[in-house]
Symmetry: C2
Subunit: 428 residues, 2 copies
Amino acid sequence: MAAPLRLGLAGLGTVGIGVVQIVQKHAALIAARSGREVVISAVSARDRSKNRDADLSGFAWETDPVALARREDVDVFIEVMGGHEGAAKDATEAAIAAGKDVVTANKALLAHHGQELALAAEAKGRVIRFEAAVAGGIPVIKALTEGLAANSITRVMGVMNGTCNYILTRMQDAGLPYDHVFEEARQLGYLEADPNLDVGGIDAGHKLALLASIAFGTQVSFGAVELEGIGKILIDDIRHAADMDYRIKLLGVARMTGRGLEQRMTPCLVPAQSPLGQLQGGTNMVVLDGDSVGQIVLRGPGAGMGPTASAVMGDVVDLARGFRVPTFGVPATTLAAPVAAAVASAAPWYLRMTLVDKPGALAKIATALGEAGISIDRMRQYGHADAYAPVLIVTHKATRDDVNDALARFGATGVLVGEPVALRIEEV
Amino acid sequence: MAAPLRLGLAGLGTVGIGVVQIVQKHAALIAARSGREVVISAVSARDRSKNRDADLSGFAWETDPVALARREDVDVFIEVMGGHEGAAKDATEAAIAAGKDVVTANKALLAHHGQELALAAEAKGRVIRFEAAVAGGIPVIKALTEGLAANSITRVMGVMNGTCNYILTRMQDAGLPYDHVFEEARQLGYLEADPNLDVGGIDAGHKLALLASIAFGTQVSFGAVELEGIGKILIDDIRHAADMDYRIKLLGVARMTGRGLEQRMTPCLVPAQSPLGQLQGGTNMVVLDGDSVGQIVLRGPGAGMGPTASAVMGDVVDLARGFRVPTFGVPATTLAAPVAAAVASAAPWYLRMTLVDKPGALAKIATALGEAGISIDRMRQYGHADAYAPVLIVTHKATRDDVNDALARFGATGVLVGEPVALRIEEV
């Protein structure tokens, strides 16, 4: 049996402790499957005195994760601290410079610095593995880079932020407004310290950018992801969608089109009967389309101690077995600079707005749509309160640009009350 | 770049031609992802003159797959001929003896001879990879052996025969009887030459036995799989199940229990709203439960040229990258001889039977159930034709042995007309 693989674990929060627990509980299982022992040499965290749910007495302690990353007795540096600048980045760079492989759960770090880090690792003959960074316990990066490696991937799609899916399905099930459920989610501890990372779609956008890089062989370009959060979704929208047999999801879609790479993470309507439409609560789902395989759907827990630690340790077992898939599936030197599609592909849209209740108001909106080149599939005024008339429109296929044009024209009519909501209808 | 990886392809049916097409179409993509070229050196099939949908002119031709398996210019032997004895077995053994890695789509071969073949490969430092043998294009073996490698797997469950799921969902959707839909499936070419491989649960049982071996580190033991086909299912059963918000699926379940390994492939009732209950048509689904990750659900095409060839080539890319996971996830020398659980775990049961329409008939059945130690949750007579009374019973939890005991007692009452149907209700 080969020499033990020695881990240096930076970060002793939920995920870090989950890693310790797996290494301790399943030492024999992991050794049997890896062909060698996997041991933790040293750990680091900010506060040594904190009470933690694991026996750390057998591990060396480093206060500085950079020092941990450079230790001679560490083969693989595990970064589960989080944050895309500062200590996480410094320590990851130090580990790579010292010739270690890196396993990380840090989507933000890779979304922002993935290309430079992958190049640096590659120059040392090492890799960065990050299964835990995308869709928690679901082995989606492995499916894309290995299982489906003989496919040209045509689309990657998914619900990758459990908190947003919890909020949207809870709104639907309980008939509660966004603000109420948002507050519930906060109290349940489902939200990041900066909730906009969740409900603004940023966290899910990071994940989508990483999957797009792998799927299409392009450098990560998080900046090119069209991002829209779920904060504008009213319970009315969820009800209208349900009436039309749709569900509203914060949906990520990445496609390579003739016009370039399309990446979006936006609230969309999806058919209620589709696997995505049926996804409840905090569960994640990724849908992969390949030219040979057709469609593969992967579903599982997107966060939490066990699932995330499972993904980290799956990567560790790969490294213990000597498997080093390049960080983004192909050598980072060969990743193409992505050309972002100027306009995402066309789709039907759901438009919901409130108009002043005056004769001709609806006609002005219809005219504005026509001027923007958008034709109407269905349009209805659905009851009104006081002087306001809520209106729901489903369009035929239109691009985001056309819709933006129409929204600008709506504004100029003077009949709008408040902001209209425009949601893409994605035929999954 | 390393030297090309050279394939010998035995079998030029649908899957074989699919492999040729991928190798030819995606040569550059595969080379980029593998770090080396992947080429086909030689092929073999029974009939050279047959018209095939691929250009084979660049490949050497062998009439004998054993000769192909031994060729010096072959690194990986791909077996997509099928059959668990004869040419497929001989050629696979020859390839292993000659020190080649093997990629196969042949579930029957591995279900019957997996252990001896794995040992032989291992003795040569080689592996047998068989992602294509289980659930078609779904990378489930990779998920189990690699992605979830740090988990103790607690259950493997799934719908793994697309033809049976097609028949059952078509019966439900169209309200057509089994015989009619069976004939449709035959005309659509969905059935194996020996249809009992499909509808008798044998094919799916092979797949379950392979997954159980990987999940629980035991030698493949197909003989210990409790097998039951779908031939007895009436449209009435499907309707009763739907009335109770269930669906009938040919469901495979493997669990390691305190009493040993439980493996069954039998028609079961599953909740209509569960991912398994919602699975339509020929699609496959595998549900993996791990102690850290929780539940992962994988869904995709279970058969067909593209999906199966995709899985074969996924294994080839692994080998091109130099990744050799042991055939069943751990060295074959360490696989435990499985202890089959004498009795599968208890569950509620759905019992449907026809009784002679005489006073006291139902009481005799109820008494027989009580004598078998089974208590009744619901029981109803649901209309009758002539002198017959159809009866539906849902029991509280009972073991298969208790149910068999009850069925024997039913027979002794003299009030049964025809064979009763007993289906387990699986709370997925």
